[in-house]
Amino acid sequence: MKQLFRQMTLMVITCGFITAAQATTPEEDLAAFQKFYKKRFPNVETSDFVNGAYSIDPVGRENWEAIEEFPPYEPFIDEGQAMWEKPFANGKTYKDCFPDGPAIAGKYPQWDKEKGMVMTLPLALNNCREANGEKPMKYKKGSINSILSYISFESRGQITNVEIPSDDPAALQAYEDGKKFYYSRRGQLNFSCAHCHLQNAGMILRTETLGPALGHTTHFPVYRSKWGTVGTLHRRFTGCNKQVRAKPFKAQGEEYRNLEYFLTYMSNGLPLNGPGARK
């Protein structure tokens, strides 16, 4: 009986230890995440991870550098600038909503305490439009990519610095939900985001090099040759989910916003370099 009691006590202590060991802070997650890539790709400068797969694929990088000589996203930047400057029907402009603009990409995603949700840049732009009596833009394709391209271009060099306010437990919960999404298996192929972009980063999938997740958020929106146009981060999330044969979630819905919150936090310290060009 005594032995049984001792064994049970030991089990309880062990379980408690495991639970405590799994409860990590965002700072600890960030350190472990970035350390993983530094160990995996010791010859890559941390700041170079903003270039995605091209930071680890020299042949792909040569092609990409050639593409960047005449950036395919350039017309979108010009179009976005015109959108930024053109007054709404009520005479106001985006500048009235974002007085610090247009270089505001570094402020997003951010925790909106009042609304109790993660506020992303596309969502904030549409909030601005709606507040001024304009129709909201679509979140994956179309004109939103032009204005995002312009804002991202103007924000180049800003340092990713997502904050998770400690005075609001809901912010931490949103981060944790995003983290859970990232590490959860989904779809018929039973893959998580981490399987491709963490565990197998640098490996070849068919003809493509799997890009590291570190720096994934810095270069959006992105011109993808596959799309033949610029697309948003949530469009890319949708594509990734489809590739593992999972039904994608709604762009700018809670799932993807929280995922963006977590994923961008993981790139804290890296400079923004959007818009980007990818295959």
């Binding site: 060991a21 799994q22 990590t24 600890e28 350190a31 472990a32 995440f33 350390k35 993983f36 944790e176 983290k179 859970k180 590490y183 959860s184 298996r185 989904r186 779809g187 018929q188 039973n190 981490a194 963490l198 565990q199 989910n241 489809k242 044969r245 999972a246 039904k247 994608p248 979630f249 799932e255």
Partner: protein, 110 residues
């Protein structure tokens, strides 16, 4: 020679059996039954969707099964509905299995 005969005989029996099976499936598959299979598949899909575990093609399969049923191809419709139902169940199970976050062992916390 005997082996050859045995092989041919087995093949013939096999073909005959599969023919009977297909015929009986077709006979057993009434439009009402297929409708029920489709409904069951949709319920399974919704259950998976409720926990964020719906798979990409389940909804499309159900839609296709409905079209096939309307065209009178009940056997194909039934097969597809069953496949979709299986996907729905698996998607739900998968999402439930991921309820507790497990961090990968290759991430080292210090």
């Amino acid at each position: 020679m005997q082996k050859k005969l045995l092989l041919i005989f087995s093949l013939l029996i096999g073909i005959l059996c599969s023919g009977i099976a297909t015929t009986s499936l077709a006979e057993d598959t009434s439009a009402a039954k297929v409708q029920k299979l489709i409904e069951a598949a949709d319920a399974a899909r919704k259950q998976a969707a409720g926990v964020g575990g719906e798979w990409r093609d389940t909804g499309k399969m159900i839609k296709k099964a409905k079209t096939l049923m309307e065209k009178g191809d009940l056997v194909k419709a039934a097969k597809l509905a069953n496949k979709a139902a299986k996907q729905g169940h698996l998607g739900y199970e998968q999402a439930m299995s991921q309820k507790t976050l497990t961090m990968p062992s290759y991430l080292h916390y210090e």
